[in-house]
């Protein structure tokens, strides 16, 4: 099969990969559409060593699955953590924190920038018919945005600030707005601001962020600058949600965190079902984020496009 291949921080298009074998309880999925995420770009830059097919945001069709399941022919999205099911974290219901987990297209498991991928049946979610492929491909990052809601209660009289209006920030903003949060987004680029305007979500530029006024701040930038802006914006006893990984270690004044009784919360993968529900009922529509769609053969151009500053979502179509 054809796929994008990452090895020693070099990407290439390969045509010689075998269609992956199935183990019991796994499904073979024909990938229809995949999305490029910042994590993919970080892997390319050597964020950590990964050899294999990258990509973890996808829509596909189940081609083969264990008998007894009704998956074959279904259009699906899939959770990206492949967990053991038996470790203390799994048994406590924290499967995304399985100690032995592999991660689709990120760690030890070939990903979605390929004609076919394999996932445990347990990881699959059927896509409601009213959700297009172009919307469903956002399920994984939308679920990640929804994780915030799982971690921090949204109260009507609290002010949220979302730092960054990129591919993740836009989804976070849409999810929070749809969940009733009073929010403002710090947006840099004209198109990011236009998208927020269309949804009547207020935005400001960095220099207009007020000190110590926000009840909850979400940093979607994954940069030290984003973190320090969050730290400056949050009120005492407020909450900072860290929604993106950071490329480098950050030097933090922990005494100020103690004195101000700040809560810092790391936030990663989230629940797929409410994400699909939001896409089905139109509460969230991420399709305006799409700024490019490339066939798999032009996958390297897709990655290059996704890496340009301010670019939102770039998709790769497998056929």
């Amino acid at each position: 099969m054809r796929a994008i291949w990452l090895e020693d921080q070099r990407v290439s298009i390969r045509t010689d990969l075998p269609v992956p074998d199935l183990k019991p309880d796994q499904a073979l999925i024909k990938v229809l559409l995949a999305g490029v995420c910042s994590t993919d770009l970080e892997l390319l830059r050597g964020y950590y060593p990964y050899k294999g097919v990258p990509g973890h945001e996808f829509v596909g069709e189940v081609i083969d699955a264990p008998s007894g399941y009704d998956w074959v022919g279904q259009r699906v999205v899939g959770e990206i953590n492949i967990s053991c099911g038996f470790c203390p974290a799994c048994l406590a219901g924290r499967r995304t924190h399985c100690k032995l987990r592999l991660t689709l297209g990120i760690h030890g498991w070939d990903g979605a920038f390929a004609e076919y991928l394999v996932l445990p049946v347990h990881n699959l979610h059927a896509i409601p018919p009213e959700v297009s492929d172009e919307a469903a491909v956002f399920s994984e990052p939308l679920a990640a945005a929804l994780e915030i809601r799982e971690q921090v209660p949204i109260k009507v009289d609290e002010r949220w600030l979302v730092i960054g209006a990129g591919r993740l920030g836009q989804l976070v903003a849409q999810v929070l707005a749809a969940s009733g949060a009073t929010l403002i987004v710090v947006a840099r680029h004209a198109y990011q601001r236009e998208l927020l305007d269309r949804r009547h979500i207020p935005w400001i530029s960095e220099e207009h962020v007020q000190t110590g006024e926000a009840d909850v701040v979400v940093d979607t930038t994954g940069t030290p600058g984003g973190f320090f802006l969050a730290r400056c914006a949050v009120r005492p006893r407020g909450t900072i949600v860290l929604k993106s990984t950071y490329k480098e270690e950050i030097l933090i004044d922990m005494s100020k965190i103690v004195v101000d009784e700040i809560i810092l919360i790391g936030s990663r993968c989230g629940p797929f079902q409410p994400a699909l529900q939001m896409l089905a009922d139109g509460t969230v529509d991420p399709r305006e984020l799409i700024q490019g769609c490339y066939p798999l053969d032009q996958g390297l151009q897709a990655l290059e496009h996704a890496g340009r500053p301010g670019v939102l979502k770039v998709l790769i179509r497998m056929m």
Copy 2:
């Protein structure tokens, strides 16, 4: 009046200070007993500039108060943050985070290592008669320990780890044990371990801390080493409570915080009423922590004693 005086990181005993004047809604308190806290020692080391009388843990007797109050003659402890009452934080009920606050013996307000101090009546709590001066002098740090319980729910099936068994760690351990938490304390010194043994609170040494096993970790050390041990000990999606200020900035791998979805919570001053209640009903008895008691004239020796490694509580008696 006599008092310990701090100026340019130098301490001295002064005998020439005037008894402070009262403003409306303030009480004049004759200090009976005061406790030396790590923050006092940090102030001496120049943690931040403070000129005046240090000390914020005290028991005293009200000598003068506005008419209409029944405070005169009462034995009291006092909250240390002097807040404005009118800023957004005060109006939202977060008076300990008042933007304009002064802090007894720490910031802009003469403290408890003196024959007399002044506090707003609002800050006072009457001490139940069954609580001795030697127990009541721990109200402030005990309230700080109780703040943890305000911030993190204590669940019976969760494992707590308290790092550090010093003057704050011992109180934290007693409060958590009395609140039903399943806990282990990381203790270094023989006397610290003996106190924990007496209360049947299990302890371990640092090298026996298990990686990623604790649900909630409280760092009471205020050292980068304590923080990194906490980070190592906490499970994914676990909570780290930062219960002590840190002398320096700490370089943190924020990506791991995000990937493991760790919650970091800064924790400072807490509620006095449950602290006094715990002292009254004997749930907590901190008097075994006392390792020295000096008259005010020997206050400098008291500070020197409190600063020795492993020393728990040193008191200063004013008469």
